[in-house]
Symmetry: D2
Subunit: 234 residues, 4 copies
């Protein structure tokens, strides 16, 4: 079993570079995030639907805040290429992902009106506003580092569950979610993001700033982990 | 009993003005905040010391974030007088309150090093970063409205417990906390803040913006309420 | 002659609403902006090409800063629809306008490398950073009001010159510039922006905040006017 | 003569550290700033009083914006000590320097009302808003580097003129200005600021970020230089 769960060590892109180093240096917390009971419940289909519905609602609200963080990345980028990269992520959310999310939620019986009227949970507020505060208080590197756990984590979870023989495919109501985050398209998007961050790292002095960056990354992982359980307090 | 607990309706300063209106218009949540079990436990001395210690540690970390919000109020003020008012609040925290808090914590067996090494709780992150995001995304009025529940709430709790015959004085380990927030000096500070907010309200179009302001105020009350229990997740 | 120059009073969209009121209430400065010698030189083709080239270079750099201001509008919007509107403006610049501008500059003998290496002029720094500071210090209304003179002014200048019998068409090297800003597509974009601002005005309390808004608008008009002459200090 | 003007190379604090390196690496522009005709006119008393009065008025308005930048430094600092340092600078301006400046202006026949009603010049807008935008877009190091030319420059000009045998003392209406900026107290303040910046540099990766930092520093020097002549456009 353990061998299977260690598949995440094999993502070559994370063997080098800043993103990989940050992830390795808080590996205990990281595993608590990507191997969370919520994730196992998705893998074998035993997660209570109500917990997933609450998660989906908060995830919709989270996407909106993530788009705001991308907007700050556009504002903070110091090259036109950097502005375009962040603008692409932002438009991806506003023009495509939000509508897809609404459609997906409908398959779970959640109407758009319910998404719009939902109250932000404590976990969502903590996580999203922590990112936005790092975004405003720091520079582009601080921002991208704090956004990285979300970016990397979902792709890692998706890829691992998608590839694992232990994941239940037939009759698993969560298989479409796994297929989305484990799919080619999402993986591509995330690998672009990781490369972008690694490329930025040198120019922004990541080496010397590493302790501060790691602290922010670790807090984001902690908040991302709490977010799986966002259903409880909703 | 009910009569006693309604003392908060008698604060004349809150009979008129924006701050009073906001408080009245989410009275159910407001009472959940100022009459929280944590507050009752302080009033009669039955609150477990461990819960109070956790609260004190997070409250120290909160003060630092509150000072950052005051700094944004200086940045956002559009008159020198407004800058000075916010700067006064900020210096009060950095020059006086933090040191007092450190001293007070020591009487509860919490060393300064423990304060500095403590991890920010989920409740603290949610509350403080929500304020800071409102501060950056909105204007000075948005900021002061979001900071208001903390300002008003502690003075109201302090004043009520301080005046109430039901509050235990002798042998109540929390009496000094009550005396601080129910004292003349703190009340003065808060009344200044309320007047400042009310004066700003007209010039910043609070009437027309009321629904948005109320929503932010209500969220802050919700997060302030959750903050009493910050000990649990620490 | 005077009759002709008063054509700008006939834009029906500006007869009502916040944008129109702001423009009317600083009409003397406004006319100094839209009837600037630079504009007359464009109309009759007598503007020295060197002044126009310097203007084009700075205008390219200005577009980048304007995109940053749009990014802040996405961050500051409090509805998804508002985020999408601002994101649309931003993407318009990053995905289309910048490339068009580069192409247009090439027809004037300005290579892309020259655009990228150009130093920001005093006028550009003053104008763009004033907008960005209003954007961060205030709320979405403050931001959109400060951006409005640029939005409205270029469309007004373009429309007026495009329609005027006094404008030289044949052999006027600036006719393509006039055709762009006086064209259907740009006018549509601007009218959308004006409607967006007017719709926002009520909800954000523009009436009560009018003196502050007018002050910022007037400063932006002053800086926009100085920007015509940006060539001199480049 | 040249020997005398090279006294600025002797400030030992600037022989090492980030601030000194930045200053050395744009020495041509730096000398254009600290040896500006305005400075020579102050040294020998030949500067037209009207130019000085315009400068004083804009300098008052500049102080207010500088205090706003200090407020952002409090918000951006990641230690309580760092917050206190920036808060000290900010309070120094709001509680002391502004009032001193008002008093000094009165000796030049400028009433407080004139200061408050004065319009911000193009040079002031460009310089102060450039600083504030760097402050918001970047992190604390970006902010402090952009503020450094003002901090260092005035002390350097003051110290040099104060010490130079060529400076006219008797009957020079500008001697009190020289005495202020060349005095012990101001020098102390500035040396603290330089040490603060140098201490921060390592932790924030200044080495790797040097090209970006130098670009911002050089732009600030350029804008500071233009600010001497702010009288012309007022």
């Amino acid at each position: 079993m353990d061998d299977e769960w260690q598949a995440e060590r094999d993502w070559p892109l994370l063997a080098t570079g800043l993103a990989g180093r940050l992830r390795r240096d808080c590996m205990a917390q990281w595993l608590g995030f990507v191997r969370h009971p919520f994730v196992r419940g998705i893998a074998d289909g035993t997660l209570p639907p109500e917990a997933f519905r609450n998660f989906l609602i908060q995830d919709y609200l989270y996407l909106i805040q993530y788009a705001r963080a991308c907007a700050l990345a556009v504002y903070k980028a110091d090259t036109v290429a950097g502005m375009r990269h962040a603008a692409g992520l932002m438009s991806g959310i506003l023009d495509t992902e939000l509508a897809m999310h609404v459609g997906y939620c409908r398959t779970w019986g959640i109407e758009e009106a319910a998404l719009e009227q939902a109250e932000e949970s404590l976990e969502l507020l903590a996580y999203s506003r922590f990112i936005l505060d790092r975004a405003q208080a720091g520079d582009l590197l601080d921002l991208l580092v704090t956004m990285a756990p979300c970016l990397i984590g979902y792709a890692e979870v998706g890829a691992r569950l998608h590839a694992s023989p232990l994941t239940r495919r037939e009759g698993n109501p969560y298989w479409s979610w796994i297929a989305l985050y484990g799919g080619e398209e999402y993986t591509q998007l995330v690998e672009d993001g990781i490369r972008q961050l690694d490329a930025l790292a040198t120019r922004y002095g990541a080496q010397a700033r590493y302790p501060t960056l790691l602290r922010a990354f670790a807090t984001a992982v902690r908040l991302e982990t709490a977010f799986w359980g966002t259903g409880r307090s909703a």
